[in-house]
């Protein structure tokens, strides 16, 4: 016997697979846990090697910038899947749908009548200082009132077993290709486990995404021409860009492949001459989209693209300016938005948050820096954060100054005891912290949520940082239908 689950030590955290100290599995993990225990240490090591090989050969990679050059790294993957029960997932799905609906209402409102500000639910000064607010978008109403067509929300589980929403990524969220590829690798490594049919499939995402993109075309009726705009081969998510384009059968374009004609339509340069583009799934940040409207030095974008969008000749997904709701301070207002726009209580809770712009919250934060995680409003990828309990006094003092100088830009949250799952390490199976990023597609009349999502795991012992740019890895995520098991 390779794995003795009673020796697995996950005390002090909620473990996703193992329910208690005796090593008893949770219902959704039962089949998996017993199966793993039936493998010898050598067999397990063999499967791990097979997974590494599969990843290398399949070329599942991400690009990191290090030592002055871009390096293509193999995707760090743990072969032991993370499980969720279908019952829990159904509720989570409803919560995410509700949340994204409210966020889209909010963005439409902010670029329109700003009712939520006038009604005193959302503070005007927050808007005034938002770096992601785009004045160019005022007065726009994209098809179906959808701005955040694709949302990647990060979920974490605390000690009490509750799933909390940690943040909503509305700009250019990435990771969905790895969600699908993780499943491909797991199927190669543990084909035996998929015979019961209880593990719900994840691979219809590209088809769902295609349908959503097609529904956004300004020329309904025709077969729309859709392109994915990538910053290019040196972007860290390039693998995903080409993967998605390939899966959907749409064109993968760079800025240089597109131009805006005198008729304000967008065209691709093809061997047949210019061809009109209806929908652009852009994986380029707002500020690089159009040198005429935003940063004039951008060579990634397309001059005139914003003009084409404003004239309604092309759909941009996500819409420019959608990032106004992707802000760690705005995040704290999402439960209020749900109440305000939908008249409902939030199904999924936010992590309790202290806004440094609020005087009493700020005083609390400054007094409790050693217990809190402090985040800047607009950074992503885990950069620019202070993890209070692990920081030195010097680091905490530095943040104290930063917060006092610019309170709007900071918020703080209690350090959560992130849940763990068994992970294969060089010294056997050990618990590692993880989170979950599901992806939500909105097309106005309907919403689609991925089955599970991308589980990111902090491969280093005790670490809470799951970002792949900082040593994080991933696991396959199983939503298990216990009724068919």
């Amino acid at each position: 016997m390779a794995i003795d689950w009673s020796q697995y030590r996950c005390k002090g955290f909620h473990d996703e697979l193992i329910a208690d100290a005796s090593g008893e599995p949770r219902p959704a993990a039962q089949h998996l846990v017993h199966y793993l225990a039936s493998l010898s240490a050598a067999e397990l090591a063999e499967r791990r090697l097979a997974a590494e090989l599969a990843i290398k050969v399949m070329g599942i990679s991400f690009t990191v910038y290090s030592e002055g050059r871009n390096v293509d790294r193999s995707w760090p993957f743990d072969i032991i899947p993370r499980t969720l029960s279908k019952a829990e997932w159904t509720k989570t799905e409803a919560g995410l749908t509700q949340r994204v609906q409210a966020l889209n209402h909010f963005i439409q409102d902010i670029y329109g009548a700003q009712r939520i500000v006038k009604d005193g639910v959302f503070p005007a000064e927050l808007l005034a200082e938002s770096v992601n607010f785009r004045p160019q978008c005022i007065g726009m109403r994209p098809r179906g009132g959808v701005w955040a067509h694709i949302c990647g929300s990060d979920l974490v589980r605390d000690l009490d077993g509750t799933l909390y929403v940690l943040e909503d990524n509305l700009r250019v969220p990435s990771g969905v290709s790895y969600m699908v590829e993780n499943r491909q690798v797991t199927k190669r490594v543990f084909p035996e486990l998929f015979q019961t049919g209880a593990i719900l499939p994840v691979d219809d995402y590209p088809a769902q995404l295609y349908d959503m993109l097609a529904a956004m075309s300004p020329r309904p009726g025709d077969t729309p021409s859709i392109a994915l705009l990538t910053p290019g081969i040196y972007n860290s998510a390039y693998f995903e860009h080409s993967w998605l384009a390939q899966q959907m059968g749409i064109e993968l374009v760079e800025g240089q492949d597109l131009f805006v004609g005198d008729d304000n339509c967008v065209y691709m340069r093809t061997v047949y001459g210019p061809k009109r583009v209806d929908v652009i799934y852009r994986r380029v940040d707002d500020l690089f989209l159009d040198p005429e409207a935003f940063r004039p030095d951008s060579i990634l974008g397309v001059p005139g693209l914003m003009r084409a969008w404003i004239c309604g000749k092309v759909a941009l997904v996500n819409a420019p300016g959608a990032g106004v709701a992707d802000d760690k301070v705005v995040y704290a207002f999402v439960p209020k938005m749900i109440k305000y726009y939908l008249g409902e209580e939030a199904i999924l809770p936010n992590v309790p948050s202290y806004l440094c712009m609020d005087e009493s919250d700020r005083a609390y934060v400054l007094d409790h820096l050693d217990q809190l995680v402090v985040k800047p409003a607009n950074e992503s990828g885990g950069y620019g954060m202070l993890i209070g309990p692990r920081a030195t006094k010097k680091e905490r003092d530095k943040f104290k100054e930063l917060i006092i100088a610019n309170p709007r830009n900071y918020m703080a949250q209690p350090t959560l005891s992130l849940s763990t799952a068994p992970t294969l390490t060089d010294s056997g199976i050990e618990p590692r912290h993880l989170d979950l990023r599901p992806f939500i597609l909105s097309r106005g009349d309907s919403t689609y949520v991925t089955t599970g999502g991308l589980t990111r795991v902090a491969m280093t012992k005790g670490s809470l940082v799951v970002n792949s740019s900082q040593g994080g890895g991933a696991k396959d995520t199983w939503v298990v239908d216990l009724e068919t098991a």
Binding site: K56, V57, M58, G59, D222, T223, S225, I233, Y238, S242, W243, A245, Q246, G249, I250, E251, L252, V253, E254, Q256, D257, F259, V260, G261, D262, Y267, M268, R269, T270, V271, Y272, G273, P274, K275, R276
Partner: protein, 323 residues
Amino acid sequence: MLSRVADNLYWLGRYLARAENTARLVSVHSHLLLDLPRGMTLGWSPLVDILGANRTFEDSYDTYSEANVVRFLITDAENGSSIATSIARAREILRTVRDSTPREAWEHINELHLFLQERGEKHLPRALRQEGLDRVIDSMLLMRGLLSANMNHDVGYHFLQIGLYLEQADMTTRIIDVRTVDLIQSKAGEELRPFAHIQWMSVLRSLMAYQAYRRHEKIRVSGPAVLRFLLQNREFPRSVTFCLNHLSGTLPRLPHNRASERSLDRIRALIQDANFERLLEQGLHEWIDEIQVGIGAVHQSLAQSYFQPQSGAAQSQRQLVFG
């Protein structure tokens, strides 16, 4: 088909053909050495001459020794036409056109790339060289089969094929050019005759043409007959005429482009009218130069018509294509 993607697919074809031909050249040359009489040495510099890479070579190496030339041709990253470089570039391209090529093509070239990076150096010495070269050759054939069997034969595929066949025509003429320079020189000494015969066979072998030649010509290997076969034969896929005919057959499937057709017709006429007995006596090298210039002209006209990004203004004056 995006102009940038068409450009990439065209170059993918060229790199695949280049890597395969270079691997064959090294392989045949290594074998040829084994058949030479004692006391006679055949240098390794002709292989560098074939690729026209002497300057790059001399930047890094002092002598045209076997070890140096073999490293230069197989693994040297500084050499823009080494096998490793061709594979690395083909891989880069497949990465950028992953969406329009079958996934297995990427997986396969990625595997070969990793092999060359990690174990290429170990396969340079004679004992393991053939194994490494065979792997490259087999991989290239597998890639061609895989692309042909699994990819839509759409306009992108045609660009890939154009790259493959244009590079093959180019490599075939280069191989003939350099190999025959030695032959012509050795004609003076009568006693070298049997080895001249061996060398003509090696020209054929470099192009996997020996068996095909034998079947087709049914005569002893002779200079003019070999040249006729490699340049004018319509059935052997590495003959220059076969490659050019393939291009002529493919061009009509692309958006209309008179310039490429014209430059292609010019080379075809040149080859059709050639008298190889006379060229072997005199002027073969200059004649091949002329063909090489013609191949360059075909490349230029393709690049101008399809690949080079035009300004938005210039494009909107052309007919717009919707749908």
